[in-house]
C-alpha cells in the first residue's frame, strides 16, 4: 500500500485538478449561454433571407441560376468542416472528423475528387497529418465569431463553386441539440437545390403568391442574393457548431469534475485505512514491547 504521504499528495493534486475542471465547466456554461443567444439572434436573418429567395424563385417563371441547378458531372466536391481550436471537449472533434474521414474515403478514389475547407486548429492538423487536400483554413476564431470574421472564407468558398472548382459543397459540423447532446451533421449547401423545391411546395399551397417588382431585375437580384444566402448558411452553421462546442466542453468538464470527486473519495478512504493500519501497528508494537518487559 502506498505511504500516507504519497496518498496525501495525490489527494491534493486531484483536488487542484478538480478546481480547474470545475472552473472550466462554469466558463463553458457562460459561453454556451452567449453562443445560444447569438444563434437565436441569427435566426430571423436566415429566416427572412430564405423567405425572400423562395418568393423570388416562386414569383419568376423560369428560375435559372447556376447555383440552383445540380451539375451534371461532379468533378470535385468541397467539404467545409467546422471544428474547434482547442481540445478538452470530449468527442466533439473526434466524432466529427472520424465521420468526415469515413465519408470521404467512401465516396472518393483520389485526392483530385475533393477539397477541404477547414475551420479550427484540430481539424486542420487532422487533415494535414493525413495529407488530405486542405484548400482553405481559418484558425484562431473568436469564441463568439462575427459575420465579418468568416466573411472572407465563406465568400471564397462560394466563389470556388461559381468558378467550378467545386461542383457541390457539403458542410460538416456538430449540430446543437441540447447542452449535453450534439449531432454530427452533413448539410449540402451548394447547389441550393432545396430552395427550388421548397418554392414549388409553397406554390402548391393556397398561399397567395406575391408579384414582386424587381429593381433592377430578377436575374441581378438572384446573382447577388444567392451567394450571400450560401454564405449566411455557412455562418449559421458556425454559430450552431460553436454552441455545440461549449455544450460538449461543459459536459466533458462536468464528468471530469465528477470523476475527480469519486477519485478523491476513494483516495480519502484508502488514506484513512492506511492511517488506521499505521496506528494499529504502533499499538501492537507498544503492547508487544510491554509484554516482553513484564
Amino acid at each position: 500500500m502506498a505511504s500516507l504521504k504519497e496518498i496525501k499528495t495525490r489527494i491534493g493534486s486531484t483536488k487542484k485538478t478538480k478546481q480547474i475542471t470545475k472552473a472550466m465547466e462554469m466558463v463553458s456554461a457562460a459561453k454556451l449561454n452567449r453562443a445560444q443567444g447569438r444563434a437565436e439572434a441569427f435566426q430571423p436573418y436566415t429566416q427572412k433571407i430564405r423567405e425572400v429567395v423562395t418568393s423570388i424563385a416562386q414569383g419568376t417563371e423560369d428560375v435559372s441560376h447556376p447555383m440552383l441547378q445540380e451539375r451534371e458531372e461532379i468533378k470535385r466536391t468541397g467539404y467545409i468542416v467546422i471544428t474547434s481550436d482547442r481540445g478538452l471537449c470530449g468527442a466533439y472533434n473526434s466524432g466529427l472528423l472520424r465521420e468526415t474521414h469515413r465519408l470521404i474515403q467512401e465516396r472518393h478514389n483520389s485526392e483530385d475528387e475533393y477539397g477541404i475547407v477547414v475551420l479550427g486548429k484540430v481539424g486542420r492538423d487532422f487533415f494535414k497529418k493525413r495529407g488530405m487536400p486542405v484548400m482553405q483554413e481559418i484558425v484562431g476564431l473568436n469564441d463568439h465569431p462575427e459575420y465579418s470574421d468568416i466573411k472572407n472564407i465563406a465568400e471564397t468558398t462560394v466563389q470556388m463553386f461559381a468558378d467550378e472548382v467545386f461542383d457541390e459543397v457539403y458542410l460538416h459540423y456538430n449540430h446543437f441539440i441540447s447542452a449535453i447532446s450534439q449531432q454530427v451533421t452533413e448539410a449540402k449547401i451548394l447547389p441550393l437545390t432545396g430552395l427550388a423545391e421548397e418554392a414549388k411546395e409553397a406554390d402548391q399551397k393556397t398561399e397567395g403568391r406575391l408579384d414582386y417588382l424587381y429593381e433592377p431585375d430578377p436575374a441581378t437580384i438572384l446573382e447577388q442574393l444567392l451567394p450571400h444566402y450560401a454564405e449566411t448558411l455557412i455562418y449559421g452553421s458556425l454559430l450552431d457548431a460553436k454552441a455545440s462546442e461549449f455544450g460538449a466542453r461543459m459536459s466533458a468538464m462536468r464528468s471530469a469534475t465528477d470523476n475527480a470527486d469519486n477519485r478523491i473519495e476513494e483516495l480519502t478512504l484508502s488514506y484513512n485505512r492506511a492511517r488506521q493500519a499505521a496506528i494499529t501497528q504502533e499499538i501492537n508494537e507498544i503492547v508487544g514491547g510491554a509484554a516482553a518487559q513484564s
Partner: protein, 133 residues
C-alpha cells in the same frame, strides 16, 4: 396616418424593429423611398444610409450592402452590417478610412486590391457621415 412594420436585420441580430411612416434607402440603381401601401418589391442595396421616419422621429442607420424586401405594409431590410449612429465607433471608422485611402494610393496598379479598398473606404465614409449627422 398609415404605418408599415419595418425590420432591419443583420447576421448579428435585429437592429431596428417597429412601425414607420417612411423608409428611404439607397439601392444599387439609386435612392428609393418607400411609403405604406407600396407594391411588393425586392431590391439590392448599396453602401449608404437608411432613413426611417417614425412619427416625428428620424432614425438613421449606416448600412453596408444588403437587400430590401417590401410586401404589403411590411419592409424587411437584410444587411451584412447595419449600425445606429450610437453604435458606430468613430475612431475605428476614421482609422479604417485612412487605411483605405492609403491602400488606394498604393494599389492603383492592381485591380483586385483597388476594388476592395474602394469598398472599405465607402463603408468607412458612410459610417462617419451617419455618425456625424
Amino acid at each position: 396616418m398609415k404605418t408599415m412594420q419595418t425590420y432591419v436585420v443583420t447576421p448579428d441580430g435585429t437592429v431596428f424593429e417597429g412601425q414607420s411612416h417612411m423608409v428611404s434607402v439607397k439601392t444599387i440603381s439609386g435612392e428609393l423611398g418607400i411609403l405604406p401601401g407600396h407594391l411588393p418589391l425586392v431590391a439590392p442595396l448599396a453602401i449608404g444610409a437608411i432613413r426611417i421616419k417614425q412619427e416625428d422621429q428620424l432614425h438613421l442607420i449606416a448600412l453596408s450592402g444588403g437587400f430590401m424586401e417590401v410586401r404589403q405594409n411590411e419592409v424587411n431590410i437584410l444587411a451584412e452590417s447595419a449600425e445606429l449612429p450610437s453604435d458606430i465607433d468613430i475612431t475605428r471608422a476614421r482609422a479604417a478610412k485612412e487605411r483605405a485611402e492609403r491602400r488606394l494610393e498604393q494599389a492603383k496598379q492592381e485591380n483586385i486590391d483597388f476594388h476592395r479598398a474602394e469598398l472599405a473606404l465607402k463603408r468607412a465614409v458612410n459610417r462617419l457621415e451617419v455618425a456625424q449627422q
